[in-house]
């Protein structure tokens, strides 16, 4: 059996949750003093005791973030290529049985969107798409990457899981990053949300990040969609996944995302709501256990929360986002994946960061680094 699948399937949740439930202030403070922390420490940092000490935990996390990343946050923008999708994920606006306006950008439209983002100051674009083998296949993705690279040095993709050779093709086209969230690490719940389409295959999705790393992708984003399963267990699984990737693929940069389910057309209500406070607690916990991991925050979250979190653990933010294909040049003509909360422009987000004593970093990559 694959050792990542084995690691995920044998997480001692019961003992970890007991460890968390039994933790007191002293146990939390002891972990804050440590130089290196492990997954048992992660469990304690996700505990009610750590919640009681959240200010102290946040200070430790903020110090570590500043130490490793400086007083900087990198900015990026998503570029939605297509909302065509063959999957049914019951929480998503792009689900195939949802009767909404569909579109897939052609080369000229991709160029136009990338040009717009570049003019806004972005030098890092995330290409996003639903899963549709007819519209969004390997050739299409490689072409999309090449077009985006005409305008910016750094391009990542957030699309369906690819094969190793599929990832190699996107690297060759000039992408350096891949984002692939498991969405839900709990197998049973995963099956209940992903009812039709290739995304039903839990293991294939779980192994996608490893295939990307093996293919030479330098930045890999993993994450869990909050609201679909109990959050402590999800974060413990996310931590286990990251630890595996660090051990196996030392050359790969890992980042975490914790998108909270947002309202989308025809989608379900989240069953396991996560509060702002819990969101902060899990970010701090992962920062303290993985000091060098990126932490990404999208415009799904409201401005005041984004501003606060940016001082503690976040290392990368999107800004001025549109979540429908073609949405920058032609807003509201296609269905959005989800509603965003932070409607500020890129320049406004940059100014907010500067006002908080954080240098907004637009460009953090150079053509010459593409192997």
């Amino acid at each position: 059996m694959n050792d990542l699948i084995h690691a995920i399937d044998t997480i001692p949740f019961g003992e970890m949750i007991v460890r968390a439930e039994c933790a007191d202030d002293r146990a939390v403070r002891e972990i804050l003093r440590k130089e290196h922390r492990d997954r048992w420490d992660l469990a304690v940092l996700l505990s009610p005791a750590a919640d009681n000490l959240l200010e102290e935990v946040a200070r430790a996390a903020a110090d570590l973030t500043a130490q490793r990343f400086g007083r900087t946050i990198r900015l990026y923008a998503p570029l939605y290529l297509s909302n065509e999708c063959v999957n049914v994920c019951t929480y998503c606006g792009f689900r195939r049985d949802n009767d909404v306006a569909r579109s897939t950008l052609n080369a000229e439209q991709i160029r136009s969107e990338a040009r717009y983002l570049s003019a806004q100051g972005f030098r890092n674009i995330l290409l996003v798409s639903g899963e549709h083998p007819k519209w969004v296949n390997r050739d299409y993705l490689s072409e999309a990457v090449r077009i985006a690279r005409e305008f910016v040095p750094q391009v990542a993709i957030e699309v369906q899981p690819l094969t190793t050779s599929g990832y190699e093709a996107t690297v060759k086209a000039g992408a350096d990053g891949v984002v692939v969230y498991q969405e839900v690490y709990d197998r049973e719940l995963y099956a209940s949300y992903h009812t039709h389409g290739p995304k039903k295959d839990y293991d294939d999705r779980l192994l996608a990040a490893s295939r990307a790393a093996a293919a030479g992708v330098r930045r890999i984003g993993i994450g869990t969609l909050l609201g679909l399963a109990p959050w402590r267990e999800e974060i413990l699984a996310l931590g286990t996944h990251a630890a595996h990737l660090y051990r196996r693929f030392g050359r790969t940069e890992i980042s975490f995302s914790f998108p909270r389910i947002r309202e989308a057309a025809g989608a379900i209500e989240p069953r396991y709501q996560v509060s702002d406070r819990q969101l902060l607690q899990m970010m701090c916990a992962l920062r303290l256990v993985f000091p060098d991991a990126g932490i990404v925050l999208s415009t799904r979250e409201a401005p005041a929360l984004r501003d606060g979190l940016s001082r503690i653990a976040v290392t990368m933010m999107s800004a001025g986002s549109r979540t429908e294909p073609g949405g920058y040049e032609h807003p509201d003509e296609s269905e959005k994946q989800f509603e965003i909360e932070d409607h500020r422009t890129a320049a406004e987000v940059g100014a907010m960061l500067s006002a908080q004593g954080i240098d907004p970093v637009w460009k953090d990559w150079e053509e010459a680094l593409h192997g």
């Binding site: 400086g70 100051g121 050359r251 010459a368």
Partner: protein
């Protein structure tokens, strides 16, 4: 005293023994103020962050090129080839033909790859670059890099961004004993006392970024590091007495023996 004690790298003379990294400051303005009070004459910058098309400006726009030597670094490079391409880009862009070589394949600790660092140094020296390689605190490698034509060697005090100080003290002492090029302790220095300690040992200079840029008051910390470097260098030149396990009388106890 400084006037008679310059730091000389590749034939260029500098009064300051503090090199400043610019990557982690809260703003360009704050970085420029810190640079000013630090007294630094060499400032490093990441080539991957240089953006000729940026409307927001670049990190070095606020620094006077007459006063500072801009030392581009190859941070982000994970192989010799990538570092070499970056250095060529810096030269082609008219930025510099000096390069701080960083080859750090593993993003989780950013420790330098010794083999690739040596290989990139050989290539870049042949192409006429002035190469300042960031390296493991390894005396053998220091020798190899100097033999390959490196202008300095830059051993790490501790992993980058950790503020842990001179964890590699013993190895750095060996590098200093044999050094034929200036030794600049780079990475991991978290306090002015760490910088002073490195210079007391005889290191020629230190490079600091995190400890200054992420301090509560970076400008004040820049000044503290300047003073730490001055103190450490003065102590080194003054001939710091060796440590002793017990107190020692200042007049020799056996002085009378020679008087017969």
């Amino acid at each position: 005293m400084h006037r008679e004690d310059p730091l000389i790298i590749a034939g260029r003379s500098f009064q300051s023994r503090l090199l400043l990294g610019t990557g982690k400051f809260a703003s360009h303005q704050q970085m420029a103020e810190a640079a000013e009070v630090s007294g630094a004459e060499i400032v490093t910058m990441a080539l991957r962050r240089v953006d000729p098309g940026a409307s927001q400006g670049n990190i070095l726009d606020l620094l006077d090129p007459e006063r500072y030597l801009f030392l581009p670094n190859t941070s982000g490079a994970r192989s010799a080839d990538e570092a070499v391409r970056l250095a060529r880009l810096a030269r082609a862009g008219g930025i510099s033909d000096w390069v701080k070589l960083e080859v750090t394949p593993h993003p989780s600790h950013l420790l330098p790859d010794s083999l690739e660092t040596l290989r990139a140094t050989e290539i870049l020296v042949k192409e006429g670059f002035t190469v300042l390689p960031y390296m493991q605190a390894d005396p053998i490698l220091a020798k190899q890099l100097a033999d390959a034509g490196a202008a300095t060697v830059m051993p790490l005090g501790a992993p980058i961004g950790t503020n842990r100080g001179l964890r590699t003290r013993d190895a750095i002492a060996l590098i200093l004993q044999e050094a034929e090029v200036p030794v600049v302790v780079d990475a991991g220095l978290g306090a002015p006392s760490h910088a002073a300690e490195a210079l007391e040992m005889g290191a020629d200079a230190v490079l600091v970024n995190t400890a200054i840029a992420t301090a509560e008051d970076p400008v004040a910390m820049a000044k503290a590091f300047r003073l730490g470097c001055v103190a450490g260098r003065l102590a080194y030149l003054a001939g710091r007495p060796g440590e002793r396990s017990s107190a020692e009388a200042s007049s020799p106890l056996t002085g009378f023996l020679g008087e017969s």
